[in-house]
Symmetry: none
Subunit: 424 residues, 2 copies
């Protein structure tokens, strides 16, 4: 069976008013695309029972699948179950599986199962349940006019898992999707999307048409996706990837197998493999690098302490940076950041260190040291490296970029890379 | 004339595949909302000439205004002008104003006016031009079935200006919009959206219909929005807000005047007003609280140092937590977190402190101290408060919730609140 016509119906006043941006339809479309299914129509309506019921009837007339998103919550604005019942002329009944899920959900959170929440178990009679293991509202489905209607939650994280674990596998098996599609995903750091596109155009003027290339930015990383649709094209892709890896070298931080990794995750993996401990000494990033590291489960095996020394006084007090260095060269200097690194290494009894000192802005700059100036030091007891950058960005993006580059520099040290990053 | 029914039609293959997220419809809807106009239907279609022409005819039947977005570019996928010509049974003609604009645009950029670009001046006969001062493609409009059709560019920055400078003023004057709309926005922390709705339903069974209420989640805060459309309803809103403030008390962190504030920004404002310095001692949040604070420009006047003591050894070494306390009670205990707080206060020479110690998960839990356990300590040299919470969430959400609650607790101390947060 071919799933030819898939429509999307999104509901929610906050979508119509633009109070929130619709990212769910992109998520649904992308996941469907992964199994060769294209969305042919997308309609968004406000929370209006009659309009929704009419639209459901209308869209099911020429669709194989209709995915409805939103409207499963406990408030009076959440109308999907009612609209579907109206459109299919069924009554609403308390579904035992939905109710059981709700009860367990509330129990686990010591939350009271109120009237509003009970509404989430009132579903069109005889509908099927689609499991939602990370939310209170189950999804549900039924068939109308030969069209499969799937009702999904509006919360993006819940939708994502329901798609990955329930809906996409189901649609894939129904459409006899044969995974001849082969995708290679490379994660890169340190090259902008425009630069990457230009490099590919320049170096591969005869790009093979069998290989589809895609880019996705997930700051601070970029994902380069290479797709072929037939097994017989695999050798072409393999050859192309080899050349791409030679061209982009250590800007490729990994090839995604199961899930993408953050720079911090990769650094920690390398530390764990080599039984090394890492510490951080932060001024302008104010805890962000330590936070990136400790977001990662299991980081405690490689990370014991981080220092946030925001004032000169504390750089001296906590990291033993000589006051004379601060007087002579200032906080944002090679001498200071190297002294911060040495101090942190010693006190935290670590093998590796990252230290940063800079001017995040918008205030604090001068002629010699403009906003965006930063010194990064990284290395080990044996050798500490240091480099100056000037990063023009708003405060938050400056901090994120400095954190990302610091982690990338330690990563390159750990993989013993001898290449110079493009951002040098 | 009332503009009652406004539909949106967006076109673009990259929207259907989810390769880009549609932020334009939110932008259009928000700007329309500012002049009292609601979008009642939003349809997205791929770049297909016949489908687009059909949809245009269909949507104009019951709309006063149809805004079409996208498809004005120079490539073969850009079909809006052709689709509109087809739908209105007009021919495409080179529009002199559009052509003049294109020629000037290319001249100013020393760009060649190629065949592809010339296509952008081929518009439905006798349409009106909508100026685009920041892009090569002019917008255009005409009337079909009594419906005003406005064709706008897909590039967000171009759309933004065209809306602000051309379209919104035109629609506002047509609809005799009088800026009587008055909106109050309250930011809250520590109440979930469901709970908030229930509280409002319970305490205001006769909610005045003149006041429209809206909720927007922007984790970890919630925004409660109260809107009236006529000046004469202002006293009703004022009275209602007074009662809401009495009910929700210090869960309301601020009333948004110009822009929303983060908890960290509010804490820093209060510290600056009172000339107080704050320090942080973090275990399970690993730098996140310090990072939240230092994201804020000007934080250096109130923040000098933060400690990330991820291991027991470092709790003792950096914060002078007695090893015996760690041995007897463990890292995640009231005694340890209070000792962390005292140590940080002394060493950082600060007036206020936040200290946290917990189990972020997914590993690390036990029967007595399950994943999600956390002790938070907060206060000053005069008095340190401490409290235990069990926060069931994934690792990242656990860390964010602990950080947010810590900042909220210090905020409540600074505003001398005597109320107990709902999350206690």
């Amino acid at each position: 069976m071919t799933i030819a016509n898939v429509h999307l119906l999104l509901t929610g006043n906050e979508l119509m008013t633009g109070d929130i941006v619709d990212s769910n339809s992109a998520m649904i479309a992308q996941q469907c695309k992964g199994i060769g299914i294209k969305i042919s129509r997308k309609v968004t309506l406000a929370d209006d029972l009659d309009l929704l019921a009419e639209e459901i009837k209308h869209l099911t007339k020429d669709a194989d699948v209709l995915i409805i998103n939103g409207g499963l919550g406990p408030t009076t604005d959440d109308l999907t179950a009612q609209a579907l019942a109206l459109a299919t002329q069924r009554s609403l009944k308390q579904h035992p599986i939905a109710l059981a899920h709700l009860e367990t959900w509330c129990q686990q959170r010591n939350a009271h199962l109120g009237k509003a929440n009970l509404k989430q178990a009132l579903l069109p009679e005889d509908c099927e349940i689609i499991a939602n293991r990370v939310g209170s509202a189950v999804g549900f489905s039924l068939v109308l006019n030969g069209c499969q209607i799937l009702c999904t939650p509006g919360v993006p994280s819940e939708l994502n898992i329901m798609l990955e674990e329930e809906i996409i596998p189901s649609l894939a098996s129904q459409s006899n999707f044969t995974a001849e599609m082969d995708i290679t995903r490379l994660q890169l750091f340190g090259i902008g999307e425009s630069t990457l596109q230009s490099m590919l155009v320049e170096n591969f003027p005869d790009w093979p048409k069998e290989v589809e290339v895609g880019f996705r930015a997930s700051s601070p990383l970029i994902e380069l996706k290479l797709t072929i649709e037939k097994n017989e094209h695999l050798p072409i892709k393999i050859f192309l990837i080899k050349k791409i890896k030679a061209l982009l070298n250590d800007h490729i931080i990994e090839e995604i197998k199961d899930k993408p990794y953050s720079l911090a995750e990769l650094v920690l993996q390398l530390c764990q493999q080599k039984h090394l401990k890492i510490t951080t000494a932060e001024s302008c990033t104010g805890g962000l690098i330590a936070s990136d590291i400790t977001k990662v489960s299991g980081s405690s095996s490689s990370f014991e302490a981080g220092f946030v020394t925001y004032s000169n006084k504390m750089k001296s007090k906590l990291l033993h940076v000589d006051e004379k260095i601060l007087e002579q060269h200032g906080a944002v200097s090679e001498q200071t950041v190297r002294a911060m690194a040495e101090g942190a290494l010693a006190i935290a009894e670590a093998d590796l260190v990252i230290a940063v000192s800079g001017i995040a802005g918008p205030g604090g700059g001068s002629a010699e040291k403009p906003v965006g100036s930063v010194w990064i030091a990284w290395g080990s007891k044996d050798k500490i490296y240091s480099k100056y950058f000037c990063i023009k960005a708003n405060r938050e993006n400056f901090q994120r970029t400095v954190a990302a580059r610091s982690l990338d520099l330690i990563r390159r040290l750990l993989i013993e890379s001898n290449q110079t990053p493009l951002y040098f």
